[in-house]
Structure formats: C-alpha cells, structure tokens
C-alpha cells in the first residue's frame, strides 16, 4: 500500500507524513487512549467524585503545515480529539495548562469580571537542551548529539529525578526524549500540578547552579565552607560521570585549546603554571595508559587536593566538575503555568524520531540515536499489512509498542492508582462536611 520510506530525510517530507499518517492514521499509531487516561487524572470514570469537565478545560495547541500555530484548543473526549486532529492535520501537538473554564470559551471571561480566564493546574515541567552545554561540548555542537555527549543528559536525569523524589516528595515523574537533543520531565503529582508560578520558580532556582554567559569566565561559584546536602549528593553523581564519560569523551585535557579552558577555572596562578609546564610536554603523555585526559586529571586533582592550597582553590575542584556536568535547566519553561510543551509520542520534524519515554532508573542504556523513527514505523506497518479486526492495536505491532508499554507500566498505572485514591478521599471529605452541616441545622 505504501512505498518504502527508507529515504525519508527531508523535514518537509516528515512533516507531511506525520500530519497525514502519524496522527490520523486509521491504525492509530499515536497512543490516544493512554494520553487521555493520563491527562484526565482519573476523572474519566464513573465515580461520583469525578469531575467530567476536566478534559474539556485542558489547553492543547497544534502546529500545522507552513508553521501555522493554533492555541486554546480543547476536547471533551478522545473521539473529539481524534476527529479534530484528523480534520486539522497537525504535525506537532503541545499540551498546555488546565484552565478554570474551557479555553475555547475564554473570551466570555475577559474584561474585569470576577471570573478571569486563568490556569488552575499544570504539571511541573522541565526542559533540558543539549545546546545549553555547547560551551563544554567538543564532540558536537548545535543541533547534533552523539553518544559522547549524551551522558550529560543522563546526569541531568539522575540528579533531577533524585531531587524531585527525595527532596520534594514527588512520585509521578514522566521523562521523555525530546526527539532531537534533549529531554523533558513532567511531574504529575496533584501537589505539583497545583504549584504557583512562584513555587515553580523557587524549585527551579533550587536546582540551578550554573549561571553566567559567554562574558563570564566562572559560571559555577561555590561559596561557604560546606555544600548544601542536595549539592553534595549531586556531586557524587557528577564526579562519577565526569571521570568515566565526560572527561575522556570530550578530551577535556588533551590539547592546549581544551585544557586552557579548564585551567581558567583554577584561581591559583602557581597551580595553573605548574600544570601548563607538565602538559605542554607532549612526549610523556603518550605513555599514559588511561588516556591523556585521565592521567592529566589525576595530576590536577592532586594539586587541588593538596594541603598546601587555600580552601577556595580546593573548592575549585568541585567547581570544575560541576561546570562540566551539573544540569542546566531552562528556567522560562518551568516558571509559568501556561507554558506549552510538546506532547510525548510526537515525532520530531527534523529527525523523524518519536519522543519516547525514558526510564530514569535505566537511562544509561537509553540510546537517542536508536529511537523508533517515523519511516521505521511506517515500514513496519507496511510489512505487517493492515489486518482488520485484530486483537492487538497496530502500534503494538511496531517498535512503538515497547515505549508505550513502558509509559503504561512505569508511569500511568501508578498514577491511576494514586488518582483513584485521591478522588475517593476527597469525595469522602465532602460527604462528611455536608453531613456535619445538616446536623447543625437541628
């Protein structure tokens, strides 16, 4: 039925195919049912405590061909969502906030009346983008990523996941590959969804360590005689990845151009001079077994950890490691409740890759270059043939099946259990309040 899609490279072609086939394909490659179950947070059931209006108040936005962008779309149920998508043919779908009224009806509430159109709930979201690390990447730059720099994302996933779960007590986190060069995190606990903009900003600042731009030399500045427990915990993760992946992969100390940048972060001229002397002598370096960077790093560490240096110099060891590894979050994405973020399982128009979930416990085994692509999916379907009336859905027959199952088991099912418990509990509370009131009237 379809021609072979191996040669789908061009972004325009991808866009065309995504909008015509991915979202609206009769076999339904896009996991509508799972997405709907997620975003209704248990209110799609028959329990009396359910609020059926929830889905209708969630904002979605579509990006159509020629970059036409439509906001404030909302759907009352899955079939309405599917139908609208079929008719409008977007190639990208973003998820926005849950508002107090249906976004499509928002203009009725403008103009200073008591009820202003405003967001009520929104997942706490984080966006980590590899281009924010361009000043420390030597393997690629810009939109490219490879397995040498991808560990930076793993560091970010591990640190954020730990902080959000242990420090803030959140449980329902969804990590998603952004399709090209980064990852997104959706924190879906009820408490997270209800956070104010100020709270989101505060959490992001708690997680921020790297400040500055191309004009500043030192971007991580650690003051104080000790590190906050969250930072000392993060340091362990950073140090391991630094020594095992970042240092060798990025060849941070191999050449003068590279090692000068590292030495810039050492606030002691004598140590810098000492290192320069040893490293400019290239003949000894070729003898090293571990690799040039590793052995030079040992030397630098020794110098910085020696008892003869001042505390601020010793501190620079941690500053160097943090500078090259600590997560860099885009604060603007997380700060506002009404920020729109790309939906999981979309397809990236430049790469054709699916935005699949990542298991944070297993992130070291995630390979962004080996993620299902649109061409691959369509070929797989082609090979299978479209069998009518089969028990399993078409997407389950493709490489999309495993990511969707991961979404289901690791994220959706625990979330649904929590939703049910919350709705039941709230409903009970309400019943008790009502009965208390009626008894007083006596």
């Amino acid at each position: 039925m379809f021609c072979s899609f191996e040669l789908v490279r061009n972004a325009a072609e991808i866009v065309f195919l995504v909008s015509r086939f991915f979202f609206s394909f009769p076999g339904r490659l896009f996991p509508y049912a799972e997405m709907y179950k997620w975003l209704s947070y248990g209110h799609d059931g028959k329990h009396p405590g359910c609020d059926a209006s929830i889905m209708g108040r969630r904002e979605f936005s579509f990006t159509l061909e020629h970059d036409i962008y439509i906001r404030y779309l909302s759907f009352h149920d899955v079939s309405e969502m599917e139908a609208t998508i079929k008719s409008k043919c977007p190639h990208k779908i973003d998820i926005g906030a849950l508002y107090n009224v249906e976004p499509a009806k928002r203009t009725a509430y403008a103009g200073g009346s008591d009820r202003v159109f405003a967001p009520v709930e929104r997942e706490l979201v984080f966006d980590i983008d590899m281009t924010d690390y361009d000043d420390i990447r030597t393997c690629c730059s810009g939109a490219d990523i490879c397995l040498k720099c991808w560990p930076l994302m793993n560091i970010a996933i591990k640190i954020l996941d730990t902080v959000l779960r242990e420090d803030f007590g959140f449980e329902h986190l969804l990590w998603v590959y952004s399709g090209r060069r980064g990852v997104h995190c959706w924190v879906c606990d009820a408490r997270a969804r209800r956070l104010s903009n100020e709270a989101r900003s505060a959490i992001t600042r708690y997680l921020t360590l790297y400040k500055g731009n191309e004009n500043t030399t030192k971007k991580v500045s650690l003051t104080g005689p000790a590190l906050h427990p969250a930072l000392s915990r993060a340091y362990e993760i950073c140090r391991t990845y630094f020594e095992e992946h970042i240092l060798p992969n990025q060849e941070l100390l191999n050449s003068e151009g590279h090692f000068e940048k590292v030495l810039e972060l050492v606030p002691d001229e004598s140590v810098r001079a000492q290192m320069r002397d040893r490293w400019q002598d290239n003949r000894r370096a070729s003898v090293a077994k571990d690799g040039i960077s590793a052995s030079r790093w040992k030397q630098l560490k020794q110098a910085l950890e020696s008892k003869k240096v001042t505390p601020s110099v010793r501190r620079s060891l941690e500053e160097i490691i943090f500078s090259y590894t600590y997560p860099r979050i885009d604060i603007e994405v997380s700060k506002h409740m009404n920020h729109l973020l790309k939906a999981p399982f979309c397809i990236h128009p430049k790469t054709g890759r699916v935005c699949v979930p990542i298991d944070p416990q297993d992130c070291d085994n995630f390979d962004p270059t080996n993620v299902p692509t649109l061409a691959q999916l369509l070929n797989e379907l082609n090979a299978e043939g479209v069998k009518g009336g089969s028990e399993c859905r078409d997407l389950d027959k493709t490489s999309l099946g495993a990511p969707v199952r991961l979404f289901q088991t690791k994220f959706l099912e625990p979330l649904q259990r929590a939703n049910k418990a919350e709705i039941t509990a709230l409903h009970q509370e309400k019943l008790q309040e009502v009965s208390a009131k009626t008894s007083l009237s006596w």
Partner: protein, 463 residues
C-alpha cells in the same frame, strides 16, 4: 463586620467567624461584640496609628532590627495601655479593625496598612514564649509541626550542613527547635538553598518560623482587606456618611501628602532669604522653632530634625544648611565642636552619611503625633501649646483678632490641621482647604505671594 448605631455616640461592633486567641497576639480573624463609645473608636485608632507610623519611621531610618523592635514594643506598651488590664486585648482588636476600615478603600492605603501591621505582628509574635507560639499555631490549625527528638537526631547532620553551607554556623543546631513546614511556605529559602528539605517538608529553626507565620498573617489580612472594602461600600458607606466616614477619612490622610524631600519649585533657597521666608511663609511650628533657635542659639534633637528636614524640603542646599546651623549655634559653641558633634547629623539628613537615605520632611500627622518633652520646641503648636501660648504666638504672626478666634476654635475641636489652615488664611487673606504637610504650607504661601507680586507689577505697568 457590622455597625449598629445604638445612638450617635456609641458604635456597636460585631463580626462573624472564629475566636480570638489565648495568646496575647491576635490574627484578628474576628472582632469582638462590643459597644464602643465614639471617642474611643477614634482614640483607640489614633493610638494604634501612632505605633504603626513609628514602625514606618523607624524602618526608614535604617535602624537595626533589634532597635526597631525595642522602640516599637515601648510605644506599644505606652499607647495601647488601658484603664483595666483585661481591656488590653479589646483595645488591640478594636483599634485594628477600625484601622482596617480606614485603610481598605484604596490600593495604596491597603498596601501601607498591610506592611505595617505585618511588621507589628511579626515583632509581637517574636516576643512570645515558645509555648505560646506553639499554642497559637495549633489554635489556628497552621500546618507547622515541631519535630520530635528522634526525628531531629536522624537529620542533625544534614541540618548542620545546611547551616554551614548558608554561612549560619553549625552551633545553632543543637539549641534551636526545628519545625517541619510544607516547602511552599518557605519558597525564598528553597530558592536560595538555605533550608533542608525532605519529602516535601522544609525543616526550619524557630527564628524562621516567625517569618512563616507573619507571611501567613499577611496573606490573611490581604484577603480580609479586600472583603472589608466590599462590605463597607455595599452595606455601610451610605448610612455612616455623617458619623463614621469623616473620622475614617481624617485618619487616612496621614500620609497622602506628596513627597517633600525635594523642593517642588526646584529653585534653591539661599541663606540670606531664610529670615524673610521664615517671617512670611513658614507655618507656625517651623516659625516657632526658627525663632527659638535665634533666641536660645540651640535646639534639641527633635527640633533640629523637624526644622532641618523642613529646610531641606524648601530647597536649602547642604552647604547652606551646615552654614546656617553652624552660624545659629556659633555664639554658644565653637565651630570645631559643631563640626565634631552636629555636622554629621545634618549631613545624615541629606543622605550623605551612613545608609544614605534621603530622608523626607515630617508630615503634619507625624508632627502632631510626636511628644515633645521639657526643653523641646518641636511638635504641632495647635496640639502641644497651651491655649495662652498659642494665642500669644498667633498674635506674634500679626493675625487679626477674628482670625485668631477662628484658629482657637478649631484647636479646641482638636482639628489641628484645620487650625493651621485658618492661620494660613489669616496670614495670607486667601482660601486654604487644609494643611497636611508643613512644606505644603510653605509652597502654597510662596505661590500666593508670587502671584500677588506679579499682579502688582502688572498693575503698575498698566497704569
């Protein structure tokens, strides 16, 4: 809140909601049911306003927190005293609610009231014993729990680490009690990593708890103010137009006067002009201080401040001011002594020392509220002078007997600012609606005299 007019001289106050506390500090969730005489209605509010204004002045003077606290508590005890000790809480609560009414009507008033009341609450709550603080928290069902010894042992090291990391020294950890609060309540500390958080809870020392409770107080009061405004406008404004509204309006005029820290006309006033200006355009309070300064060759601190800032406001430059005061003190004090002991203060008022705040000249409300003691000459003559002395001072200004009578009558009715306005009218033979600020008197006087002079030259050229 509800006001029933039992008679025109008594206000019955009743409000809806929960109860006041066993602790001395209140969240003012509800007003007590009480009959309040209308004089008390105003007086209680004035007394409290005195404390609130003092808070503002103390804070703007850049004093250390401990000094502000001590000063405020002193004033609180002094002004909020009542005949019977069990009336203390009554006066506290009633005065708060009256001022709430006064300050609910505009955004600016609300903001000021919110700031000052929160500061006052914070100071008073901090003074309470730990047991009373704990009782207060339990009573208002705030989600802050003190952590058990076992929990504390488990996290002692982490707490100490946080203290060290934020430069607070680990020694505190053993002594202070720690409270477990939802992290949403201490966002500032979370953002700057100055607190230990675990499973969504922040662990804060008792000191920090005061801030948290104060923030809670602020948000409750903020909501209440909006509600009060709505209720007042909807239900009582009309019927209270003749009785309570004038009182409330007068109370709210405290600081609506424009900022006189820089002279409005922009033109500087020179030393030579000062004498003439003092005789013709200074309000009585400043004229009195000026004359006393010439007479005694000295003024005590209160007088120096009141007159000094006023002079800054009319456009006297720092160098001229220094020369003025040095010259005024000269017969009794060598210049070196002046430079050593008094010059710093003049420079400080002009924002050239210390915190470098450009201090604003005192408004009428502030001057009226001050309490000049023996040997002082500052304050508001209409309030602080005996009738005989006031009469004499007004005669000195060459007011007609009729004008003087008018002024004396206003003074008897305790309408000090209207009395000042009447003085203006008598001295300038032109209308004056009311004086809120000594510098306003000065500006108006200069303006009027300038217009007069222009008219005079016009007429000359015409004829």
């Amino acid at each position: 809140m509800e006001f029933r007019s039992k008679s025109s001289s008594v206000v019955a106050v009743k409000a809806y909601g929960g109860g006041a506390g066993k602790s001395k500090v209140s969240m003012y969730l509800v007003a007590p049911e009480a009959d309040v005489a209308i004089e008390d209605f105003e007086q209680y509010a004035l007394d409290r306003l005195h404390v609130l204004i003092a808070i503002e002045e103390n804070r703007s003077r850049g004093k250390r927190a401990e000094d502000v606290e001590a000063a405020v508590m002193d004033l609180w005890r002094k002004h909020m005293r009542t005949v019977q000790s069990d009336d203390l809480l009554q006066k506290d609560v009633i005065s708060h609610f009256v001022l709430r009414l006064v300050h609910c009507r505009t955004e600016e008033l609300r903001r000021w009231f919110l700031e000052m009341e929160t500061a006052l609450f914070r100071i008073r709550f901090r003074m309470e014993s730990p047991e009373l603080q704990k009782a207060f928290i339990e009573e208002h069902k705030l989600p802050y729990k003190i952590i058990s010894a076992a929990e504390f042992d488990g996290m002692k090291e982490k707490l100490a680490q946080v203290m060290r990391a934020s430069g607070q020294g680990a020694g505190l950890v053993g002594e202070t009690a720690f409270y477990k609060v939802p992290f949403e309540e201490v966002l500032d500390l979370v953002a700057t990593r100055k607190v230990y958080i675990h499973q969504g809870h922040a662990y804060v020392p008792r000191e920090q708890l005061v801030t948290i409770v104060a923030n809670h107080f602020r948000s409750m009061l903020s909501q209440a103010l909006v509600l009060t405004n709505r209720n007042w406008t909807a239900m009582f404004a009309a019927q209270e137009e003749d009785r309570l509204t004038p009182i409330l309006e007068a109370l709210s005029k405290r600081y609506l006067a424009p900022d006189y820290s820089k002279s409005a006309s922009g033109s500087a006033v020179t030393l030579q002009e000062l004498d003439g200006l003092a005789m013709r355009s200074f309000p009585l309070c400043m004229r009195h201080l000026y004359l006393k300064l010439q007479e005694d060759r000295h003024l005590r601190h209160g007088g120096r401040q009141q007159l000094g800032l006023f002079l800054k406001g009319i456009g006297l430059k720092l160098d001229d001011a220094l020369a003025f005061w040095r010259g005024a003190f000269a017969p009794r004090m060598p210049a070196e002594k002046f430079d050593k002991e008094y010059a710093y203060n003049v420079r400080h008022n002009y924002g050239k020392e210390g915190k470098r705040t450009d201090y604003t000249p005192y408004s009428c409300m502030y001057i009226i509220m001050s309490s000049p003691g023996v040997g002082d000459h500052h304050g508001c003559p209409y309030r602080h002078f005996s009738p005989e002395n006031l009469h004499a001072a007004l005669s000195g200004m060459r007011l007609s007997p009729k004008s003087i009578d008018e002024v004396m009558e206003k003074t008897r009715g305790r309408h000090y600012q209207l009395a000042c306005a009447a003085t203006f009218e008598g001295a300038h033979s032109c209308q004056c609606d009311g004086i809120n600020h000594p510098n306003q008197y000065f500006e108006q006087s200069r303006k009027f005299l300038k217009e007069q002079a222009e008219k005079a030259t016009e007429m000359e050229t015409d004829s």
